[in-house]
């Protein structure tokens, strides 16, 4: 290519009919899974303001908004799209707690459904009682659940489901399968249900987007409670605050100090306004400081005190995020107590 000929703009190569069929099928599947999304009030996009930091802030704001809404189970909130960035994140919508992997997008309809657009997420669903099953859709996959904790992951058209405890019904295209505690299912072998392995990658579809590899990592299971000890105490112990760290070369970041102060303010607020304290603890737990751990446990404990169904979910999330946390033993006991109560 030594001398330049006039080449013109590169041609737009058409997409194959097979690819268009896949696009169309996936689209209808998504629309069917989120019918209420279609008619929601239009949003005005602000192109100019969409920058990378703004995106991150928007995602955080969405997470925060959804999380705060979670404090009012049964509240009528519009479907909300939650997107995680480079780090995993957790949200609570109604009494469903979702832990998103990095680079995951989920549309949450507080009524009874979630649409996994990409990536993977753990869903912890409180017992539904007489309410309709909670439904998670991911492409051609539909998972119906009564009350359990399970994970759904997708990469292109491939999908996988893993159940921590409980029972879900997996519908993939026309086939239905039940997946129970400790079992996993993958769209590569839709008729088989196998026990989980420690880690397995879902390979990306050929020519798939360079999405992060989805690795199925079962959440750390709670240690078996001592067989001789009674269930959790009626009044769980208060959270153990983090131990003070050794003096570092530089002063601790002001944010950490603020988090500590916030934690103590929330402690003082527990008796007067427990609902506000729970919301505050949850907000604190979403941050990355060392106060996130006791805050999450405090929220779970307070929710348990108030006999809120989300207490179990919060404890499960706590044990998943902080399996060796300072309050892990208490969380195990309290969770065992609550599981016995349901």
């Amino acid at each position: 290519m030594t001398e330049h000929e006039r080449l013109g703009p590169p041609p737009v190569e058409p997409l194959s009919d097979v690819a268009w069929s896949r696009v169309e099928r996936g689209l209808w599947s998504r629309l069917d899974a989120a019918p209420t999304v279609l008619m929601q009030r239009p949003r005005r996009w602000r192109w100019i303001r969409i920058t990378a930091p703004a995106l991150a802030a928007a995602a955080a704001a969405a997470v925060l908004t959804v999380g705060l809404r979670g404090g009012a189970p049964g509240g009528e909130a519009a479907p909300t799209r939650v997107v995680s960035g480079a780090a995993p994140t957790s949200v609570t919508v109604g009494d469903v707690h979702v832990t998103l992997d990095a680079n995951t997008a989920v549309v949450m309809d507080p009524a009874a459904s979630a649409l996994l657009e990409r990536g993977g997420a753990w869903f912890a669903v409180a017992p539904r009682g007489k309410r309709p099953p909670f439904v998670v859709a991911a492409g051609d996959l539909v998972v119906r659940v009564i009350g359990t904790r399970f994970r759904v992951a997708r990469s292109g058209e491939e999908a996988a489901v893993e159940v921590d405890h409980g029972l879900v019904e997996v519908q993939f295209r026309d086939a239905k399968t039940r997946v129970g505690t400790g079992q996993r299912w993958t769209s590569r072998r839709p008729t088989e249900v196998t026990p989980p392995r420690v880690a397995e990658a879902v390979p990306a579809a050929p020519d798939a987007a360079p999405e992060p590899e989805i690795v199925i990592e079962p959440a750390p299971l709670p240690a078996a409670p001592p067989s001789v000890s009674p269930p959790a105490p009626a009044a769980p112990t208060p959270p153990v605050p983090p131990e003070p760290r050794l003096p570092a070369d530089r002063k601790p970041a002001p944010k950490v100090d603020r988090d500590e102060a916030a934690f103590h303010r929330l402690e003082a607020l527990e008796r007067r306004a427990p609902a506000t304290a729970i919301d505050g603890y949850l907000e604190l737990s979403r941050r990355s400081s060392r106060w996130a751990e006791p805050a999450l446990y405090a929220a779970a404990r307070l929710a348990a005190d108030r006999e809120q169904p989300r207490a179990r979910t919060l404890l499960e999330i706590y044990l998943q995020r902080f399996p060796s946390g300072a309050n892990a033993d208490d969380a195990h006991k309290l969770l065992g107590h609550l599981q016995g109560a349901y």
Partner: protein, 199 residues
């Protein structure tokens, strides 16, 4: 903003209304009618069909979500392309630069002039999009639509929900950045000059 003829506006509005109300037949009609335009916009910005299936799904999903807001000020086609542009922008602003191995394609110089031209064009386009991977997302979108796709600045401004001045600035900055990157690449440099991106 180009105003659509009344008959087109009425047809578009009617189709959008029926599709927004959940009429699957209307949704399919809209999908089939707009898929080429949406694909074209995405392809131009992304530079190939790789990863495009998911983005097409995302784009149409967003289109259907936003249908209740369609007022018919512009054609449905233009409106869909605006959403597709937004989806493409979000996709490239989220992801890391894609590694492009320029050594993968051998230097093929066929005898046939037409084939040789096609091979050269593919190679030049590949280098161009490899360079575009490294520049800021808004600049890339503006450059792809204005320079590679040959759209007017006003049209690009409409598609990117921006102003003509902003688009002009982005194209200028993209061009400057690309020329710097093409300093040691004769193929890219010549291609940029031909497309009007290197002057």
């Amino acid at each position: 903003m180009r105003i659509a003829p009344a008959v087109v506006r009425d047809h578009d509005r009617d189709l959008a209304h029926r599709a927004a109300s959940g009429d699957r037949g209307a949704q399919r009609e809209l999908f089939l009618a707009q898929r080429a335009a949406v694909h074209h916009a995405l392809y131009r910005i992304l530079g190939g069909n790789r990863d495009l299936e998911d983005l097409l799904q995302d784009a149409f999903f967003e289109i259907f979500r936003a249908l209740p807001s369609f007022r018919g000020d512009s054609t449905l086609s233009r409106w869909c392309q605006t959403i597709a542009t937004r989806v493409a922008y979000l996709a490239i602003s989220r992801r890391r630069p894609q590694p492009v191995d320029l050594a993968l394609v051998e230097e093929i110089v066929p005898d046939d002039a037409d084939t040789r031209r096609q091979v050269m064009m593919r190679e030049a386009a590949r280098r161009l999009y490899a360079a575009l991977e490294r520049i800021e997302a808004k600049q890339r979108v503006a450059f792809a639509l204005a320079v590679i796709d040959g759209r007017s600045l006003a049209e690009v401004a409409e598609l990117t929900e921006s102003t003509v001045i902003a688009v002009k600035t982005r194209v200028w900055r993209a061009r400057k950045d690309l020329m710097k990157r093409a300093a040691k690449d004769d193929v890219l440099s010549a291609y940029l000059a031909e497309l009007g991106g290197g002057s």
